[in-house]
Amino acid sequence: MLIEVTDLNVRYGAKTVLKNLHLFLNRGEIVTIVGPNGSGKTTLFKAIIGTAPISSGKIKLKDNLKMGYVPQQLNIDHSLPMTVGRFLLLAQQKNQKAFEKALEIVGAKDLLNRQIYNLSGGEMQRVLLAKAIINEPDVLLLDEATRGLDQSGSAAFYRKIENIRNDLDCSVLMISHDLHVVMGASDRVICLNGHICCEGAPKSVATSPEYKALFGSDVDGTFALYRHSHDHNHHTENEKL
């Protein structure tokens, strides 16, 4: 087991953001966390990473666990000049092979000499993903990494994540709003709303009453929608995101 969260509680002031949370992540798993805004998804990530104040409970990480985190965005100011190449090697032990492999996987070779504040949303996302996998992490954490991508773009992105998981033999823990596409791309789905509402295989979660209660009736058939688009998109396997 790579990550084991036991009875986690996180409070900000008087507000309880996460309550009695239990969660585990095995090697090689892709686990997706879904939940409405303010349900504590990002806070859970921050707790695992170590930037959220834990009120009680325990987060056990495997010894020397290497984490690769893909944030939603960077606090990049125009006053900070930095090329993509420099950013990828920032605070990183240089490992040419891993560096080139990461570029290859995400398709960012042509971006190396660009300034990061000039990147488009899609380019930035590729660079952030490359930065996260360059260290060959045990766990890849993705915080709404497909924001701004359309449905087929998201589907392609999740296939890329699956490939990375197979290539690097890592686990993936991701937050997503893409109910449509994310479900089938995951081994397990956790539905979060301050506490865990339901969890399990995508199919069983998608049909559970708790899940429907949380996301409303409009989620009916979303799983089928994913299956449909997934069935017909295999030819884009090698496409750049």
């Binding site: 990530f45 921050k46 990473i49 170590g50 930037t51 984490m67 690769g68 985190y69 944030p71 965005q73 960077l74 606090n75 990049i76 100011d77 125009h78 006053s79 900070l80 000049p81 930095m82 090329t83 420099r86 950013f87 920032l90 605070a91 990183q92 300034q115 000039n118 930065k131 260290n135 954490l141 915080d143």
Partner: protein, 267 residues
């Protein structure tokens, strides 16, 4: 050589310029100019207290600056109106400091010396303190350079890579308080933030890497120090403000250079 007060002044100013260069880059990148102001204002309270209780002005300034900077660092991210809190704390310090100074009887205190610096009165001891402080800051900044950059870009990302944003931010806090304390004698409380941001901003016009900006800021800062002191003699002007004026001229010149060479497409 150190007997000559101009040499001492110049060496002291170079020390401050060197320490300000790498730190100044972070002040610019992280938009901490206002944070720097508040820390500098706190130094005046420190000076007033050390005059009142008769201990060294340098230690008074550094302790209160450090206190202020730590307070701000600890509240960062917890308060939504940090900006206002900084203004309150900074101005409260400066006002309290001025009131305290007015109570100290018997001594005539030249406040201007603390507000805009008194570089020509730099003693051998001052010079030693300034260089000790400067070297500490430079070593800290070089040592923590990459982690600090990562924390600046995204604290969660840095934390996931095994760096503690809190510790890295504390490094900046200590460096800032130290530069404020050593800079008082050179450019004074009013202009120390200028020594931090103007050389770094000047360098920004013509560089494309963070390291280039740090080195460029050092070159602009040292040149401003030397030329500023020279021109203060020639035109009989106050030294600290003269140094900052020269730095501002560098800023404008490099802006023009960048416009002319079309480097601005990268900006």
């Amino acid at each position: 050589m150190l007997d000559d007060f101009i040499i001492r002044a110049t060496l002291a100013a170079i020390g401050v310029a060197l320490a300000s260069a790498p730190l100044g880059c972070f002040v610019v990148w992280r938009r901490m100019a206002y944070f720097g102001e508040a820390t500098a204002h706190a130094a005046l309270l420190g000076i007033a207290l050390s005059l009142l209780f008769e201990f060294s002005v340098f230690s008074g300034a550094i302790v209160i600056s450090l206190l202020m900077a730590s307070l701000v660092t600890l509240t960062q991210g917890r308060s939504l109106f940090l900006d206002t809190l900084l203004g309150v704390a900074g101005h409260m310090s400066i006002a309290t400091g001025l009131v305290i100074v007015s109570f100290i009887s018997g001594v005539r205190i030249d406040l201007m010396a603390y507000l805009v610096g008194d570089i020509l009165a730099v003693s051998r001891m001052d010079l030693l303190l300034i260089w000790l402080g400067a070297i500490t800051v430079i070593i800290l900044m070089i040592w923590r350079w990459s982690p600090l950059l990562l924390v600046t870009l995204n604290e969660d990302m840095a934390s996931a890579s095994g760096f503690s944003p809190k510790k890295e931010n504390m490094v900046l806090t200590i460096a800032l308080a130290t530069v404020v304390a050593v800079g008082i004698k050179i450019v004074g409380i009013l202009l120390i933030v200028a020594m931090l941001i103007i050389p770094a901003a000047s360098a920004r016009w013509i560089v494309s890497t963070p390291e280039g900006m740090g080195i460029g800021a050092g070159i602009v800062g040292i040149s401003s120090a030397i030329l500023g002191i020279k021109s203060a003699f020639i035109f009989d002007t106050p030294t600290g403000p003269s140094i900052v004026c020269v730095a501002s001229i560098f800023f404008l010149l490099l802006l023009i250079v960048s416009l002319v060479s079309k480097r601005t497409k990268n900006f």
